[in-house]
Symmetry: C2
Amino acid sequence: MSLARVQFFSISLDGFGTGDVQSLEAPFGHAGERLHEWMFVTRSWHERVGEPGGTGGIDDAFLRLHDRGIGAEIMGAGKFGPPGWHENPEWQGWWGPNPPFHTPTFVLTHHPRPSIEMEGGTTFHFIDASPAEALEAAREAAGGQDVRLGGGVTMIRDFLAAGLVDHMHIAVVPILLGRGKRLWDGLEGLEKDYAIEATSSPNGVTHVTFTRSAV
Amino acid sequence: MSLARVQFFSISLDGFGTGDVQSLEAPFGHAGERLHEWMFVTRSWHERVGEPGGTGGIDDAFLRLHDRGIGAEIMGAGKFGPPGWHENPEWQGWWGPNPPFHTPTFVLTHHPRPSIEMEGGTTFHFIDASPAEALEAAREAAGGQDVRLGGGVTMIRDFLAAGLVDHMHIAVVPILLGRGKRLWDGLEGLEKDYAIEATSSPNGVTHVTFTRSAV
C-alpha cells in the first residue's frame, strides 16, 4: 500500500511551523532557521551538503526517513517560493538546479504553469487541485511507493483535515515563536485516528509520530 | 534561595491547559480528565488516594516533585473553583476537607475573603495582588522553602510574562483539544531565559522542563 507521509516537519513548542512574515529573504519569517538547526548538525545533513562529520543519534535516524520509500512529493505553494512567486516565470524553487526531492514533485497552486524538469530526478508539476485529487495524481506518479506530504503548515493541515495522512513525523523544537502559522488549528480530536509516540532527543527536540490506526 | 516553581502542569500538544467551557461539573471543560490520565496510573497518585500499585517510571518521578521543598503555593482564581465561586460563601475549593497542598496557599482573586484553615496543613489565603506581590507574600509564608505556582493557565502565563518563574515542568499530552486556554500565548522568545530539556515517557507524554539560566 502506498502511504501518504509527512516526514520531519518542524514546529515550535507553541505550535508554529513558520514565523511571520515570509519573504524571499526570510522563507520562515522571524523564525529564521531556528526550527531547523537540529537537522544541520546531523550526519545525514552533512552528507547532503557534502561535509564530513555530524551526529548519528535519533535526529539523524529520523532525518534519514525523508527519502526512504518515497516515490513522489506534494508541496504547498508556500513551500515552493515566497509570496508572489507565481508572478515570476523564472522562479524554479529555493533549491537550485538539483533540488533534494529526486522524484516527481507536485506543487499546489492556483496558478498552474508547465512542468519543470530539474537535475537529479526532480520534476515539478504545478496543479490546482484538492488534497484528494493531488494525492491521487502523486500516487500514480509514485509507482507504488509512498507519497511525501512536504508542507508547509497550511498544506499539512488541509491534508490532516481531509483525513489523508497515514503517517506523520513532527519535530517539536523547544522555542516559542509567538506568531506565524499554527499547525494544529482546527484539528481537535486528531489523536483518535492515530497511535502517537513521542521520543525526545538530548538536544531538547521531541519527535512525535502519528501512525494511523488502520494502516 | 527560594525558587518559584511550576510542577507538572499539563497541556495538550496544541498548547491548551484547559478546555472549554469550565464549570462545576467540568472543571477542565471538554478536556475532562484527559490531560491528567498519565498521573492517575502512577504509584505516587495511587499512594495519594490510598490504593496499591501504580507505575514507577519517569511520570512517577516527575509527579513526586510536586511537594518536595515547597513551603507555599499560589493559585489563580480559576483553579480554586468554577466561574462565580466567589459568590458562594460556602465554597472551600474542589478538594474536600484535606486539600493536597499542606502549606499556606494563596488564591489570587479580585474578591478577597477571610482565610480558611483546612485539615492537613493547608490554609487558603485570598489576595488581590499582582504576581510580584503574591510571590513576595508566598515567599514570606514559605519559610525559606520554594513557592509552587499552581496554575491555571492564565496565572502561569502572567507569572512567566512578569519574569517570575525560576523552574517549570510542563507535561505535554499527545491529544489535540482544539479549544480552551492556551498556555504559550504572548510568550515569544521565552526560551532565551531558560535551559529547556525534554524527556518523553513511553505513554507519549513529554516532560518539558524550563530552568532559568541564572538560577
